[in-house]
């Protein structure tokens, strides 16, 4: 049994996430998370039925994993084990093995029998209601190959945090089996349009549990997460022109960051969260500037006769990738973050836009036009040929998950804008929850809430 599970275990020592079951009286801090006010009510999710993952493609090495339905999970407001399964499937690293029967974290596990079903790992658990109205969610992860328990946890969660509790369990399983941090408990911001109603949503990384941060009769584009995950910058047209706003997610408090003559757009946070790069038209059609997050005078960092826009910082904060049509069509360039000589980065095709840099700084994703089609491309920053990772033709706005393993982007299906996630090799794709509205402009938030 030299399964991938073993190989991964040899590579990485399980880290601090591993905790033995602890009493519910010491709740983890995340459950104290505050909730966005009034509009949050809309998030009281119609539980089970809506949940599904549409996966296309097949990955290379996948860990065969069984996740039994948690005992009494039908008493919880969300289908806990289904959420965990869907999260792990979407990552592309796991193959789900059927887990019939009733088990929980204290059941005796017949390792040989489960291995006989083809599983290398098994997760079991339970949900019970506490006297104070919270739920105690417990789970245990078994390494069936080594025949040992990998992790056991107990989460006491408010009913409204049950989806988050499920994502935390998925993260724990992911980390214990792959050695890498999971992104299931992170959040995604995106914009929906239905008729003339525009809404900026903040949802779980699976696109569900959504709450509305901003509702407007005018367009909203280009949301960008502050590195601390507590604020969003975005462009709103509510004053009949493009203005950059900052908004605190938990309180809804917002303020204009850039409202200069002309258009103000394409905000991007520096990794330390103190500055934003953005595009202003106050001195020329579209040039790049840096501004303090507290406002003040913008400092111009490009001086071209062309359009310069869509800046994005490298994770070390030293460089900015951006789009410029100084050479004719739009191409991706990079330059020192304070300005200076720009170097062209994309060379194939005559229309390359919307750069995104992976959290390790090694991979560039962008959108290219091929004929009349727009596709997400991935290429190594150090040099390497670009690879198309989609077979659709209306892709936009790639954004990396904070662990760098997935991208979320906009595509088009059945006449609607939809959100897709994909592994970087393009092999596993899944469509996030559809709402009947056009969904666009996704931005994957950082670790931590």
């Amino acid at each position: 049994m030299q399964g991938p599970l073993l190989a991964v275990d040899q590579k990485t020592q399980p880290v601090s996430v591993i905790r033995r079951t602890r009493p519910a009286s010491s709740p983890p801090s995340w459950q104290r998370r505050r909730f966005v006010g009034a509009l949050a009510a809309a998030a009281a999710a119609p539980a089970a039925a809506q949940f599904r993952v549409e996966i296309t493609g097949i990955g290379g090495t996948q860990i065969p994993l069984a996740i039994a339905t948690f005992r009494d999970e039908d008493k919880a407001p969300v289908p806990v084990s289904a959420i965990v399964r869907a999260d792990l499937q979407r990552s592309g690293l796991f193959r789900m093995v059927d887990a019939p029967g009733a088990f929980d974290e204290i059941s005796r596990i017949n390792m040989a029998e489960w291995r006989g079903r083809g599983a290398d790992a098994l997760a079991v658990g339970s949900v019970s209601r506490l006297a104070d109205g919270r739920f105690d969610v417990r789970f245990k992860l078994w390494d069936l190959v080594k025949g040992e328990e990998l992790v056991g946890q107990s989460h006491a969660a408010l009913p409204a945090d049950m989806r988050l509790a499920a994502h935390r369990i998925a993260d724990s399983i992911y980390q214990n089996l792959t050695g890498e941090r999971g992104v299931f408990s992170t959040r995604i911001a995106y914009v929906t349009r239905a008729g003339n109603r525009f809404q900026l949503h903040v949802t779980d990384a699976d696109g569900e549990g959504g709450q509305i941060a901003l509702a407007s009769p005018d367009p909203i584009i280009s949301p960008a997460w502050a590195p601390n995950g507590k604020e969003l910058a975005y462009v709103s047209f509510e004053s009949q022109k493009a203005v950059v706003w900052l908004q605190d997610i938990a309180s809804g408090k917002r303020n204009m960051l850039a409202n200069f003559r002309g258009s103000n757009s394409a905000p991007a946070w520096s990794p330390d969260g103190r500055e934003l790069a953005l595009t202003l038209s106050r001195d020329a059609v579209a040039q790049l500037y840096l501004m303090s997050r507290d406002g003040g005078a913008p400092r111009r960092i490009t001086n071209s006769q062309a359009i310069d826009t869509e800046p994005v910082f490298t994770p070390d904060g030293r460089q900015i990738y951006f789009v410029s049509d100084r050479g004719g069509g739009p191409q991706v360039y990079r330059m020192p973050a304070g300005g200076g000589n720009a170097e062209r980065v994309t060379f194939s095709g005559n229309y390359n836009i919307s750069p995104a840099i992976s959290p390790d700084g090694r991979t560039l994703a962008y959108v290219t036009r091929q004929g009349g089609a727009f596709k997400v491309m991935v290429q190594e920053v150090a040099g390497g040929s670009p690879a198309a990772i989609t077979d659709t033709s209306d892709d936009e706005s790639p954004s990396f998950a904070p662990n760098g393993r997935l991208l979320v982007y906009t595509s088009r299906a059945q006449g609607r804008d939809v959100l897709m996630t994909t592994t970087l090799d393009g092999k596993i794709k899944s469509r996030l929850l559809t709402t009947g509205a056009d969904m666009r402009e996704p931005a994957w938030g950082p670790f931590g809430r």
Binding site: P219, I221, S222, F237, Q240, K241, A242, R261, G262, S263, S265, A266, T279, S281, V285, A286, I307, T309, E310, V323, P330, Y351, I353, S354, V367, R369, G372, F374, E396, S397, E441
Partner: protein, 190 residues
């Protein structure tokens, strides 16, 4: 959008007046054949005056029909170049075409005559391509119209060039006809 509604309004008015006139004439013809020549003719003149100052329906015969073609920019416009407020652009172009010269001259004249008057120039693109890059392309178009107006004597401070990129399509659709209607700059009073 603004212009489209305005043009449509004019057209509806024209059709309404035309219908009114047609109704009158048939009644009058039945009842009083002699007068029908004069009364409806007066009516026709008035109707044409209201509906067809754009030059399309000046006929005096009772059976004449004034065609209002909404697909032609400025058709049915009742009050000349000042009522035109949209400049359309060729694909991938930022050049203000000569045909918009009279219109922009009229606006420049009005703005020069009243220095407290302010105008927003809203650039737009078609829906193809990235939202941020299109925002910049729309800005390039509105700046081109701004420069033209400044050359015609308007003070820079009276104008603000902005862009909606592809966010406010005048006409949704994937064909070139729709794209052509979306590549535009709209002039709006501020």
């Amino acid at each position: 959008m603004h212009i489209t509604r305005r043009t449509l309004g004019t057209a509806v008015l024209a059709l309404a007046l035309g219908g009114l006139f047609a109704g009158c004439s048939s009644t009058k013809l039945d009842e009083a054949p002699v007068e029908s020549r004069t009364v409806p003719t007066d009516g026709a003149t008035a109707g044409a005056g209201a509906a067809g100052a754009g030059g399309s329906g000046a006929g005096t015969a009772q059976s004449s029909v004034a065609t209002v073609d909404l697909s032609k920019s400025g058709a049915g416009a009742a009050s000349g170049p000042l009522s035109q407020r949209v400049v359309f652009f060729e694909f991938d172009s930022f050049v203000v075409k000569d045909e918009y010269r009279p219109m922009l001259e009229a606006h420049a004249k009005a703005l020069s005559a009243n220095r407290s008057k302010r105008m927003m120039l809203e650039g737009h693109t078609d829906e193809r391509g990235g939202r941020e890059y299109n925002l910049a392309l729309g800005q390039k178009r509105s700046e081109a119209v701004l420069r033209t107006l400044v050359l015609l004597g308007v003070q820079d401070g009276q104008l603000e060039a902005v862009s909606f990129g592809e966010e406010r399509l005048a006409q949704p659709g994937n064909d070139e006809a729709a794209h052509a209607k979306n590549r535009r700059v709209e002039l709006k009073d501020k």
